[in-house]
């Protein structure tokens, strides 16, 4: 699998795959078992992206070089890859498609997992994300850890806890592994409870609290030395989740994810690896405004999303050629309701389906052929093809769309084809270059096709879908360069997207708003042309054996064909970290700066965002006792108590102010 290529590590990974040695299940399990923290693949050797041991997944993602977060509250922030999000990217868990059940995107898939039931976070930008389904912006694949199967030490595990002052928050994570010959079982659990946080001016941000519980169970059984079966279960239960940037909160968000995987590493022959998986997941998301003091209309907005699917992935290798083939299929059923209870006496409840019962079935194939022409030159040619069949099964929903002038009778059928070509050039051990061009397409989300009066708090409009909307397409281009020595890892990446039929909401003055206070109604519409360019850069420099520094820079810029800005474009963001390691001590100072963003989307009614800078300090002390390791961590995020928000934050809500945290963990 080709992984995020901005950072230095990606090139190692690319060459590593092509020259990979055959390995057995045994080796694989031991490798993953050692990792007690989630590894962001491609982010370099040191875990600068982990602020503290019990950190949430969102905090980790926000510190990577290509993922940012759309923030609507202190929980369940939505990942953005190089300025693209939602239906423009794929988010998967062990390759399993999962779709949130919230029409307002309050439950991105990443909110249903925990850091301690992940071993790796794979970020694949642009067309590279096609391995998990047709996409334009890329993919985020969360990899769960495999249980240890063979070990001299049958029992292993870890426990940790952290307290955060800014939200009076408590985070507890733990995992336990039992290895019994051919069997291995790994349980991990987590519980988080945070109250309303204080922003940089010391004021409480109401409705920013959350509570989350997560359980994960993984069983692995070795059929023989080259194949294994694995059963994975994740149960996530978040309650009393506030969203200060939205008019509603979430009383309950539950996700059950499960899958059965067969893995085979043949000892001989061209087939290098085979993985087959069947899976399912069921999401229930209950949104309401029962705790909001003054609302014109009380609302309940439950949503459900059930997905079942499977895939077979094979890796073939012969000579200097390598071929990856993957075929997958899934079906996703969604339904979301809105019941409104007027405040005035005598009003009767009103009801609509914001996602009428809809079933989307997608089947596709992905092929990537890699050829190592010489020690310096390598090419990758890949192709993704998907057939998508979307059927609204609700008569009520079809009748709703009559009011918008649509007669929905049959299914929505689409064919997506996304080819990609990459060229890699490595003139020396230190320097590596690559270029890639691709034509990618993605199907509209169910919201973009069949969404019905979905209120968007960001711009204050109700959104309706367009059953006749076309696929969004993009010509993509990227170029990357990296340099590596023992003291320095340097990576630079630039990218460009030329969109065709870019999908966004456009005001339809012929429609009346539904939500009280909404400015009007927008229909999802294809904008003929738009573009986006951007760059990422990072450097990891070992000043001495004990002292290192890491720099990360990000920038995106995009415009529609009429010159208006693309929404949610991050201005220049600079993260600088300095780490000093002395015996058991690790000290780290961080600086983050984001430029002001005045290039805004007028259509999306964005507002300019001011520049800000942050200073964070961290200290960690490692303890060893009878062969067990432990860590004591203290730190301050936002030391200067900056009053700030990023350009991706909704609702003018400011981020947490100074946060002093204390944590400890033990690994046995």
């Amino acid at each position: 699998m080709r992984l995020k290529a901005v950072m230095l590590g990606v090139f190692l990974g690319l060459w590593g795959i092509s020259q990979a040695q055959r390995h057995t299940i045994h080796q694989d399990t031991i490798a993953t078992s050692v990792l007690q923290e989630v590894v962001v693949e491609g982010e370099g050797a040191q875990d600068f992206y982990i602020p503290e041991k019990q950190s949430s997944l969102e905090r980790i993602m926000d510190r990577t070089s290509s993922v940012n977060l759309i923030k609507r509250g202190n929980y369940a922030q939505e990942p953005v890859i190089q300025g693209l999000s939602a239906g423009q990217i794929n988010i998967t868990v062990d390759g399993m498609h999962v779709f949130g059940a919230c029409t307002d995107r309050m439950d991105p898939v990443s909110s249903y997992v925990e850091t301690n039931n992940l071993s790796a976070l794979q970020i694949e930008e642009g067309a590279n994300g096609n391995i998990h389904g047709s996409t334009i912006g890329g993919a985020l694949n969360m990899v769960s850890p495999a249980p240890v199967v063979k070990s001299e030490q049958p029992w292993s595990g870890g426990l940790g806890a952290t307290y955060h002052s800014v939200s009076n928050g408590q985070d507890y994570l733990g995992n336990l592994n039992y290895a019994a010959g051919k069997w291995g079982v790994r349980y991990s659990g987590g519980w988080r409870k945070h109250q309303n946080y204080l922003h940089g001016k010391g004021k409480q941000v109401d409705f920013s609290q959350y509570t989350k519980m997560n359980h994960s169970l993984n069983l692995r059984y070795l059929l023989n030395e080259s194949s294994a079966l694995r059963l994975s279960l994740i149960m996530d239960d978040a309650r009393d989740v506030g969203y200060p940037a939205l008019p509603m909160d979430v009383s309950s968000a539950k996700g059950n994810l499960y899958g059965l995987t067969y893995e085979w590493y043949p000892e001989q022959g061209s087939l290098h690896h085979l993985q087959a998986k069947i899976y399912g997941n069921n999401i229930t998301h209950i949104m309401d405004d029962s705790k909001r003091p003054d609302v014109p209309i009380r609302m309940d907005m439950p949503g459900w999303s059930d997905t079942y699917g499977g895939f077979v992935e094979t890796m073939w290798q012969w000579g200097r050629h390598q071929l990856m083939l993957k075929t997958d299929v899934y079906t996703n059923d969604v339904r979301a309701e809105m019941t409104m209870y007027p405040n005035q006496e005598g009003g009767i409840p009103m009801f609509m389906l914001t996602w009428a019962d809809t079933r989307r079935t997608v089947g596709g194939v992905y092929a990537r052929q890699s050829t190592q022409w010489t020690t310096q030159w390598k090419t990758n040619i890949s192709l993704r093809m998907d057939y998508a069949h979307t059927l609204m099964t609700s008569t009520f929903g079809k009748q709703q769309f009559q009011t918008l002038g649509y007669a929905i009778e049959g299914a929505d059928e689409r064919l997506l084809v996304s080819p990609q070509l990459e060229v890699h050039y490595q003139p020396s051990e230190q320097w590596k270059f690559s270029m890639q061009g691709a034509y990618t397409s993605r199907q509209p989300t169910i919201t973009e096709i069949y969404g019905f009066y979905l209120f968007n708090r960001f711009d204050g409009y109700d959104y309706v879908g367009s059953p006749d909307i076309k696929n969004e397409k993009a010509w993509q281009w990227s170029a990357k360069a990296s340099h590596e020595t023992e003291q320095l890892q340097l990576g630079v990446s630039t990218f460009a997207y030329l969109f065709r039929d870019y999908i966004m909401g456009v005001t339809d003055p012929s429609l009346n708003r539904m939500t009280v206070g909404a400015k009007g109604v927008k229909r999802y519409t294809n904008i003929p042309s738009a573009y986006m360019v951007g760059a990422n850069a990072n450097a990891h420099w070992w000043l001495t054996k004990d002292l290192s520094t890491k720099t990360t820079l990000q920038y995106t810029h995009g415009r529609l064909e009429d010159g208006d800005g693309l929404p949610m474009m991050l201005p220049l963001r600079w993260q600088q970290a300095l780490r000093y390691q002395y015996k058991q001590w690790q000290l780290q100072a961080e600086y983050e700066y984001a430029n002001q963003q005045n290039e805004i989307s007028e259509v999306f009614e964005e507002q300019a965002t001011e520049a800000y800078y942050l200073v964070n300090l961290r200290a960690e002390y490692e303890v060893e006792w009878q062969g067990k390791r432990g860590h004591i961590q203290v730190g301050v995020d936002n030391l200067l108590d900056a009053y700030y928000r990023t350009h991706l934050d909704w609702g003018g809500i400011y981020r947490p102010g100074r946060d002093i945290y204390v944590g400890m963990n033990i690994i046995f």
Binding site: G346, G347, I348, Q399, Q400, T403, V516
Partner: protein, 294 residues
């Protein structure tokens, strides 16, 4: 081999049974029985049905089914009806009617009555006339017509199921109904029925000879321009505009209306006769408008 034939035979039997059941779906399944009466002269049994659970002031779609003594549907007689309100003050009046017409597809006589007022202050009856050859039965049913407005969750004096408007010497009556019987979410056909009561004639007066041939005293109004706008009072929003009603026949104006959710719906209306505005709740909030909840 023999077993295969048996399996096929059973399968066909199931299919046949299924088809038979499909063909015998009771056409009156979703309707409310008002009354069943025995007609001595024709030897038939007549049942009067309504779309809604109770009759109400406004346009009521009503039906009649006829059965012989063996319970078989009978579709050859002619059926007429005449509503009559006996006011407490001593006089009486009728109501605009669409006389029952046989629907050959289901054997049901379908029509409508616009009750211009509820039973409060008087008593409604419905006289049913069934003629089969030389035989004729006339039967008068006492019926209760409710004030539907009183059951609505939102109580507003100007929200009506029937709009009564006095303009000069003329009293106008406007009522609505849905071609699909009941309102639903989506685009649907709506009919506005418009009548005027003849001046100085409080409907058709009961006479010793009966009243079937005297008409109702209400005349369809056929030269109006009618506009409708769906509006949800508790949410303060409307719905996408449908096709405005156009006159079809007998004072019935047919158009379409959109409801994008269930709940309380006000149908603001602007009704004009030439340049004369009869009703205008689209511009004047206090003016009368149609209203419904579902």
């Amino acid at each position: 081999m023999k077993n295969i034939y048996i399996v096929f035979a059973i399968a066909f039997a199931f299919l046949f049974t299924a088809c038979s059941e499909e063909n015998t779906v009771d056409p009156m399944l979703n309707y409310t029985k008002v009354e069943t009466i025995t007609l001595p002269n024709t030897g038939l049994e007549a049942t009067v049905w309504s779309v809604e659970e109770t009759l109400f002031a406004g346009y009521n779609k009503m039906m009649v089914t006829l059965q012989d003594a063996e319970g078989n549907a009978v579709t050859t007689p002619s059926v007429k009806w005449m509503p009559m309100m006996a006011m407490d003050g001593g006089h009486s009046h009728s109501a605009p009617t669409d006389q029952p017409v046989l629907n050959a597809d289901n054997g049901v006589y379908e029509g409508g009555v616009t009750f211009v007022m509820p039973s409060m202050g008087g008593a409604w009856t419905l006289m049913l006339e069934v003629t089969e050859g030389e035989q004729m039965d006339m039967h008068t049913l006492p019926i209760t017509v409710m004030d539907k407005n009183s059951t609505f969750a939102i109580q507003q004096a100007n929200y009506q199921t029937i709009i009564r408007k006095q303009v000069g010497e003329t009293r106008y009556f406007f009522a609505y109904y849905f071609k699909e019987d009941m309102p639903r979410v989506g685009e649907q056909e709506i009919v506005i029925a418009a009548y005027k009561m003849m001046p100085m004639d409080h409907g058709s007066m009961r006479t010793a000879e009966g009243m079937m041939d005297h008409g109702t005293g209400f005349m369809p109004v056929t030269d109006l321009s009618i506009e409708l706008e769906a509006y949800m009072p508790s949410m303060g929003h409307g719905a996408p505009e449908g096709q405005q009603p156009m006159h079809k026949m007998h004072g019935h104006y047919e158009g379409t209306i959109n409801f994008n959710m269930t709940g309380d719906w006000q149908l603001k209306t602007r009704i004009k006769m030439g340049e004369e505005v009869l009703v205008n709740s689209m511009d004047v909030e206090e003016d009368l408008s149609f209203y419904l909840e579902f």
